[in-house]
């Protein structure tokens, strides 16, 4: 009875993609990432909830693993927690082994392996909704008797789907699990259990076989992959336009309203030129970011991503990467930080390092505002070949430029540090799932909140700081020319110009590059603030795009686009590289090569554009 007051510590273990994180979220009310491929969770996550008796249950979500003989850094985390090897952390009181009811042949073997640890255990038979749909019948009592541990059915993606599990956790702890004798054949034991307790009309889902026949077809499969990627970038431009127009009108209207209300002076300048111009310039890109995420979230949940990795593996191997690098690299389109963390599921240290180093070349969503601004300002919105939007096409080309340079950089690294060992792909392809609309909406809502919090936090703060640096000191008596020329930021911009003039950057861009180190989007808000302040007339509420298109030459714009394909300046990315590699040398290499490539690419672009223009 004393046990009901102490905290119960449980850990969720199991094969990859069986629904551990979905269960964890449902139990603890967290919102950790769930997606339909192996290797989503790469670190231990803790959460808690109170069971029916008011006892606190502390839940650990762990990376999935096929076996306790770990072969990659994420699997090692799970092994260490199960074996009690983590310093300062005793073994869990109870292991909740999660299995996917449609994949028992594989998942039960791991359960039998874990039983050898001799800890109290419980089996969560998850995805029972899918099993039912496929006509798989599982005899609960026989399975429980065969395994010798309590079995509860769960549906992690349905509300109330974890009731049986919570109820069982409220009862007395099961005894330490018994195991098969050392040397016993676990596979044979699983087959025996299946024969005894499970009836299965078909080994695979028929629908998966049918879809795979098309999507993995050597010709059609690649064609469809290209179309999907292309559609994604077209959509980012064409679908977002009406929404962006709405936000722009709203911001302009707010600027005029505030401008009319306030008297001339510092406060008005801060609000209109600093905050409204800066923040407004970034918020406009929310629709595009959400459309990009809509695609990414839907692809992640569908089970298509590992298929894309399958199709592209050979191409990636040629460049010294692996199909396993594909998912971390794709995550980097959202942001390089989770992408770099996701490389923990790559077994080979060399391939992992190569993936980490090229992840920043994937165009992250924070670069989208800069691309979008320049494309909208300089590329006409025309339909080409009767089908494509020219602006979408240019955006697509910029993404492709990032991908191609990633492959090129990885190839160079391959020559430089050749690996003698052989490395496996061994990638599981999950069942297809239809993305749940509620989850998609919730995921997008979260993304919007993350973006708006960034805007209201770091971007706002940097904008205000930049406004201050660009406004003070004020010009001396009788000065001509815009006030910003006399400010700190103005002088810094002019001072930096010698470095960036060869690639066509003016002093306004030089200023914007500096706060862009902390958050790339700030480059846009900074430009907006700088131009708002340098405007001599009172057209401060003017939008950035027309100003830029009037004042910059096309070669300068193209050069800045090329710069941002490589854009080394992102402190969080460099910090993530340091965390994952524990090496400042690698951080220096990454920052150095990205800066060099950015400069080189901008230089070539600028010179070529000048020559042809």
């Amino acid at each position: 009875m004393s046990a009901s007051t102490a905290t119960l510590r449980i850990a969720l273990v199991g094969n990859p993609n069986c629904g551990k994180t979905a269960l964890f979220n449902r139990l603890t009310g967290s919102r950790q990432k769930v997606a339909n491929y192996a290797g989503v969770t790469v670190e231990r996550k803790e959460g808690r909830f109170a069971d029916g008796n008011g006892r606190v249950v502390q839940v650990l979500d762990l990376p999935g693993t096929y076996s306790l003989a770990a072969t990659s850094p994420d699997e090692a985390i799970t092994r260490d927690v199960c074996l009690g090897r983590v310093a300062g952390e005793p073994k869990p009181d109870l292991l909740v082994c999660v299995v996917d009811a449609t994949n028992l042949r594989l998942h039960l073997r791991f359960v039998l392996e874990v039983q050898r640890l001799g800890l109290p255990m419980l089996l969560a038979l998850n995805c029972t909704d899918l099993a039912e749909k496929r006509g798989i019948r599982i005899d609960h009592d026989r399975l429980q008797a065969g395994l010798g541990i309590p079995v509860v059915e769960t549906v992690a993606v349905r509300s109330g789907g974890t009731q049986a599990l919570v109820r069982r956790l409220g009862q007395t702890l099961p005894p330490a699990s018994k195991a098969l004798p050392e040397g016993a054949d676990l596979h044979a034991a699983v087959n025996h259990l299946l024969a005894d307790a499970v009836q299965m009309p078909r080994r695979t889902a028929e629908i998966d076989d049918r879809i795979d026949r098309v999507l993995l077809h050597p010709v059609w499969g690649l064609a469809i992959l290209a179309v999907v990627m292309f559609l994604m970038f077209q959509a980012v431009f064409s679908w977002a336009e009406p929404l962006m127009g709405g936000i722009e009108t709203l911001v302009g209207w707010a600027g005029q309203g505030v401008g009319a209300l306030l008297p001339e002076g510092v406060l008005k300048s801060l609000l209109v030129d600093g905050i409204l111009a800066g923040i407004g310039g970034v918020v406009v890109f929310l629709p595009q970011i959400l459309i990009l995420f809509l695609f990414i979230l839907a692809l992640e949940e569908s089970g298509y991503l590992p298929r894309a990795a399958f199709l592209l593996d050979r191409f990636m191997v040629g460049a010294g990467l692996t199909g396993r690098s594909f998912i971390p690299l794709l995550s980097s389109f959202a942001c390089a930080v989770p992408g770099i963390m996701a490389t923990r599921s790559i077994q080979d240290p060399r391939e992992r390092l190569a993936t980490i180093l090229v992840a920043p070349l994937m165009t992250c969503s924070a670069r989208l505002p800069i691309y979008a601004l320049l494309i909208a300002a300089f590329i006409p919105s025309r339909t080409v070949w009767g089908l494509f939007n020219l602006q979408g096409l240019v955006l697509f080309a910029l993404y492709v430029a990032g991908i191609v340079s990633a492959l090129a950089v990885a190839s160079v690294m391959k020559w430089w540090r050749r690996s003698k060992l052989e490395h496996a792909l061994l990638l599981e392809l999950p069942s297809y799932r239809l993305p749940n609309l509620n989850d998609l909406a919730l995921g997008l809502w979260e993304r919007a909140m993350i973006f708006l919090r960034r805007v209201g936090g770091i971007i706002l703060a940097l904008t205000v700081i930049l406004w201050a640096l660009s406004s003070f000191p004020t010009p001396p008596e009788g000065a001509t020319g815009p006030a910003i020329d006399y400010s700190f930021a103005g002088r810094l911009g002019h001072a930096l110009q010698w470095l960036f003039a060869p690639i066509g950057f003016n002093w306004q861009i030089c200023i914007a590059l500096i706060p862009g180190l902390a958050a790339r989007e700030v480059a846009v808000s900074a430009l907006a603030t700088v131009y708002a302040l340098s405007a001599t007339d009172d057209a401060a509420a003017d939008l950035l795009a027309p100003i830029v298109s009037a004042q910059w030459s096309l070669p300068t714009a193209l050069s800045l686009l090329a710069w941002y394909v490589f854009a080394p300046q992102c402190i969080s990315t460099l910090a993530a590289i340091r965390r994952e590699t524990l090496s400042w040398r690698i951080v220096a290499i990454a920052a150095g090569y990205l800066f060099a490539l950015a400069y080189l690419a901008s230089f070539l672009t600028y010179r070529l554009a000048l020559a042809f223009a």
């Binding site: 003989a69 795979d212 399958f310 593996d313 061994l426 599981e428």
Partner: protein, 92 residues
């Protein structure tokens, strides 16, 4: 545990690599390429053990690499070097 079996001594034994697409086969053994071969070990853990049914479901677009192999209820993408370790016997 890590004793390599010579596939040529097995009746009808051949590498998974040579199995035609969609042809059912039974696993005979997984060959270690070196002592303590981690990849071979992982293959066994994933279910490539004697007696198990396997099938090549699809092949990659470039040089038929990787292979998509159905074993148990699961599909795995294996590169040719990995698939080569698995000796199979085609079912009639």
């Amino acid at each position: 545990m890590t004793i390599a079996k010579d596939s040529s001594s097995l009746p009808d034994g051949r590498s998974l690599l040579t199995l035609p697409r969609l042809k059912e086969a039974r696993v005979l053994s997984v060959t270690d390429h070196r002592a303590g071969d981690v990849i071979a070990r992982r293959l066994r853990e994933l279910g490539f053990v004697p007696g198990e049914l396997v099938r090549v479901v699809a092949q990659g677009p470039l040089g038929g690499d990787p292979l998509l192999v159905q074993v148990g209820f699961t599909r795995f993408a294996l590169r040719r070097a990995e698939a080569e370790r698995v000796q199979v016997e085609p079912l009639p």
